[in-house]
Amino acid sequence: MRVAEMPSAEPGRVESVFRWLDERLGLTTIYNTTLARYVPKTNWLYTLGSASTILVILQVITGMLLTIYYVPTPDHAYDSIQYIMNEVSFGWLIRGIHHWGATLLVLTVFLHMLRTFFVGAYKFPRELTWLTGVGLLAVVMLLGFSGYLLPWNQRAYWATQVGTSIIGAVPAVGPLLLRIARGGDEIGAVTLARFFGLHIWWLPIALLGIIGVHIYLVIRIGITAPPERDE
């Protein structure tokens, strides 16, 4: 970052490449605004947002890898996952990271929300940071719910049976909403296909988009310090 201030006589090769790129891309400006920000004295609980972001990146990458073999039809869903687990090299690892990463992501997102709540960080001027965070919590929960059906085993089937039934409890329009969620009266091929589409296209793009706004707001407004005892 101090490159521009130093009138060094002989820049090295790496440095001259960096300077060339920096002059055109503004890398130093990006670094200074995103990472070299002023941050109040905080504690380890303030790393939960970063932890969630890292987990989202891992989920996106392992999820993209899983779609290379997974097939979202009742005929092939279960067998293609057995194939991933038993035949594909490191398939157990990639699926394992996706499976446990999902659980961990729900946990870190929830703890992140609790911390924000308890230090009062949702107050002016950070209301929108909080509201986009609420949106992210909802999207993460929907991702977890839609992904749960995809293995197409007994647990997936019956969990989705129970989960979608909750929608049916809405007064008046409940049965209609239930049929729309399942794509029919029963859980079947249509349900699996729409949950898959939701899980790999609509929700991840919504997630990444809202994360963009969320992080922009964090950079623009900054984060709070933990409140003092007398506040």
């Binding site: 002023y38 890292i54 891992l58 990458i61 392992t62 890898l65 290379i68 073999y69 092939h76 067998d79 293609s80 057995q82 194939y83 035949e87 594909v88 090299s89 490191f90 398939g91 690892l93 990639i94 990271i97």
Partner: protein, 165 residues
């Protein structure tokens, strides 16, 4: 920023140390996912799912010397998570009743199925009029090379071909 600090060099030392930790941990995570991912992606291309097997076609005594005879074959192979049947016709031809050559019926041009035409003495491909003689050599049409051959052997008078090789 520096007015808050007792010693700028100490702050830079700590900053570099923390940046190093982030780089090491981030790099470790990237490697733990990235290296297995390579194996994950290429694995169906480098692992063979189906074992080779010798498939009996029929008795060598049933062949007319110089005349290719078609034997249908069918065997099951593992296609990912599915078991599928591969079928085709193998053309066995012998000149001396001892040594057998077995041709695949897949045209070497664009993989259509050829058939032996007894009246014309050629393997004929209906797609682009490719023709091969009884030795599998190209006689006419677009095929770029002779018919492919199965690895074959004769066991107790029965012609066998190696499938899944």
């Amino acid at each position: 920023m520096s007015e808050e600090l007792s010693s700028p060099s100490e702050e830079y030392g700590r900053r570099r140390f923390l940046a190093g930790i982030v780089a090491v941990v981030g790099g470790a995570v990237a490697l733990i996912v990235g290296l297995p991912a390579i194996g994950y992606i290429i694995s169906p291309g480098v692992k063979r799912q189906s074992a080779e097997q010798w498939y009996p076609l029929g008795p060598i005594a049933g062949l007319t010397p110089g005349e290719p005879t078609g034997f249908p074959y069918s065997y099951r192979v593992q296609d990912g998570w599915e078991e599928i049947a591969v079928t085709g016709t193998a053309y066995a031809v012998t000149q001396d009743g001892v040594n057998v050559t077995v041709f695949s019926d897949v045209c070497t041009h664009l993989s259509c199925r050829v058939a032996w035409k007894q009246d014309r003495d050629v393997f004929f491909c209906p797609c682009h009029d490719g023709t091969f003689n009884a030795a599998g050599e190209v006689v006419g049409g677009p095929p770029p090379r002779p018919l492919d051959q199965f690895e074959s052997r004769v066991e107790n008078g029965t012609i066998e071909i190696l499938l899944g090789a």
